[in-house]
Amino acid sequence: MGRVYFDNNATTPVLAEVFDTMRPYLGEHFGNASSIHHHGQETRAAVERARESIAELLGCRASEIVFTSGGTEADNLAIFGLAAARDHVISSTIEHHAVLNSCKHLECLGCDITYVPVDGRGQVDPDDVRRALRPKTKLITLMMANNETGVLQPVEEIGKIAAEADVYFHTDAVQAAGKVPISVKKIECDLLSISGHKMHALQGVGALYVRKGTLLQPMLYGGSHERSRRAGTENVPGIVALGKAAELARQGFENGGDAVMSALRDRLQESLLEHVDATGVNGDGAPRVPNTTNIYFDHIEGEALVIALDLKGLAVSTGAACSSGAIEPSHVLTAMGLRPDRARASIRFSLGKQNTSQEVAFALSLVPETVSRLRELSPVYHKQAVSN
């Protein structure tokens, strides 16, 4: 077996159908979607078809979709588009850095932020969100699915709390889109971010759902693109790809694709727990997206395991990479209360639509023996073994 890729929460390969749909927009259909002539009309039509497809995936109107350069921009637009100095904002300790660092910057701008904690399974308690509300609360921004553990957050309950309090609710659904069905009506959110490359479309494209009537302060100034909510010539190939990926995601749910995915993930997870001792699942017992499992292998350094597996052809990940590419301790696992050594011993496996059961078998043939070798070479493991 060549290389097996189980790091789909980092990015996914572009599906062949997505690529085929997009290809003409890298070639003959090159028009600027704002132009009045034939070339512009051609790409404008493609952009609007994609918008409709995404609206259908999320259960909203096409006019409520704003295309962005990705998940990070969508999160930034939602947060900075609404919150201003002296506002109070509620978020959580396990958000992606796109939200976490935006909130940190809001603090510099004079906002108050409450970061609600998570329990040992990695879930936010909606009551904590309710208790955090203040008269000055402007926005709740809380992710739908966590990127490291895959744990789903109680966004519907939080949406109700926000609606009752008349507070804006944004959810970062980057890791949920394409993996679980999403309905902005059920969630009762005002804003929701998705990213193309996490759902088999392209890197460099994303979208923000903005409920009709929500007044967003734009972040970019320029032309009146995207109903003046996001200036800049549309990334037509990216948008077309995102539209196609949304269509495939919808079809996937209709055909029970998420059940197939979770069966594959469960097999990987159960076999690893069975064949390697001193392991466990981070976020066990909480509802999770079907493609992710985050497993700790006590007495190893996750960093070394990731490298060792990569050299043998299996791509997985741990924590978050810092600017040098080195791995930093996971703020998510730490927030869940994991001991630092256990957080460092945790590995994320995340599957995509392209993965097969043969690939799961390959991983199962590789991981247990690699973990044993790492443990044999670990002074910590030997100390433990002696003291036991």
Partner: protein, 377 residues
């Protein structure tokens, strides 16, 4: 040019510690050209931005081994020569085993060598373990030194390199037999210009990159500013280590600003005006006294080295005639060494040596061979 260890292991995997400099990059290129499976590893040891802006530290820092530019350079080399490359995070250990001891040594009036600590605790310990865990048989570095197995003694030997002007054995005296058995120094028989030439021939964009001398986590080599900023970040202020300036006969002749500002042998900055030049002879951590005197009092006949690591011999059963180097830029001086306790060695020089400095290492040589070394008390 092939060392015996490398020949034996032609088809095995070698991890290269890559700093982003010319030396380690050339090592990676050499080993790759010889047909080994090479994996490049860079240790992320210190966040250069961490103390930026802290009391007097520059906003934009240019450090050495942990800067993003160097990681970028190392990554480019790996890509050029076609090897897998990874950055591994050892910041916690580095702070615990290198940075904190560095700060504490200065505050107690000693002059530390962080590079030796880094070699002992990080490079040839943590990084070697990672190398083994990822399936490498050996760890290669860009140090100028040689390692050889001596059949007759049954020991691995650490030897000075061909290019004595680049000799780094002084910083490697702490290596154990176990570590030496897994280590390659492919530059041990090369001269620096040859290394640069090989880097050029290998198509490495950084072939002309200048050498760096300073301590990697201390920007611009200004350790006093670093101490200040580090302690400020910890929420501490620099403790008051000021005290008396005294002569060797015990006469107080003034005050000084803090013992961490002084190094044995230092002449400038004493803040006293006398007829003849005065030098720092000794720093007394307990009484916070800085002892000064004329140049001739800087010379010592003996020194004691502790935490001694022996390489060429397993024990010092009797007195041994060696040459002893007491700082990086010091010509090894003839001396006798003898064991005074389990990990302490008494060094008696033939000729008194100038500025024996506590905190520095005393490394013992028998010709090219490193017998061992310890920390000067």
């Amino acid at each position: 040019m092939l060392g015996a260890k490398r020949q034996m292991l032609n088809t095995k995997t070698i991890a290269v510690a890559m700093s982003g400099g010319v030396d380690s990059s050339t090592v990676a290129a050499m080993l790759r050209a010889e047909g080994h499976n090479v994996v490049g590893l860079t240790m992320q040891l210190w966040n250069q931005r961490r103390l930026a802006g802290h009391s007097g530290m520059p906003e934009a820092v240019q450090g050495r081994c942990c800067s993003l530019d160097d990681v970028y350079d190392a990554r480019r080399v790996a890509e050029t020569i076609g090897i897998p490359y990874y950055v591994v995070n050892h910041q916690e250990r580095f702070e615990r085993d290198v940075v904190r001891p560095f700060v504490e040594e200065y505050l107690s009036g000693r002059t530390p060598i962080p590079c030796s600590l880094c070699n002992n605790h990080l490079k040839f310990d943590q990084l070697l373990m990672v190398a083994r865990q990822i399936g490498a048989d050996l760890l290669a570095t860009g140090h100028y030194a040689r390692v050889e197995y001596d059949e007759s003694r049954g020991r691995w030997l650490l030897k000075r390199p061909t290019d004595l002007s680049k000799d780094q054995t002084y910083f490697l005296f702490g290596l154990t037999q176990e570590q030496l058995s897994s280590t390659l120094f492919p530059l041990g028989e090369m001269k620096k210009p040859e290394v640069r030439e090989l880097a050029r021939k290998s198509g490495l964009a950084l072939a002309e990159k200048p050498d760096s001398q300073e301590i990697c986590f201390v920007p611009g080599g200004d350790y006093k500013r670093f101490l200040d900023a580090y302690l400020a970040e910890e929420g501490d202020s620099l403790p008051d280590t000021s005290g008396e300036l005294v002569t060797t006969s015990g006469e107080a002749i003034g005050q000084h600003s803090g013992i961490h500002n002084f190094t044995v042998g230092q002449r400038k900055g004493l803040g006293v005006a006398t007829g003849s030049p005065l030098y720092v002879i000794q720093i007394k951590g307990d009484s916070r006294q800085v002892v000064v005197g004329p140049s001739e009092e800087l010379y010592s006949h003996t020194l004691r080295a502790r935490n001694v690591n022996l390489i060429a011999v397993d024990d010092l059963r009797e007195r041994m005639r060696v040459a002893v180097k007491i700082r990086h830029r010091h010509e090894p001086a003839p001396a006798l060494i003898e064991s005074t306790s389990a990990d302490e060695v008494l060094v008696t020089f033939d000729q008194p040596q100038r500025a024996v400095t506590p905190g520095q290492a005393a490394v013992f040589y028998e010709g090219d061979v490193v017998v061992g070394g310890g920390w000067i008390q």
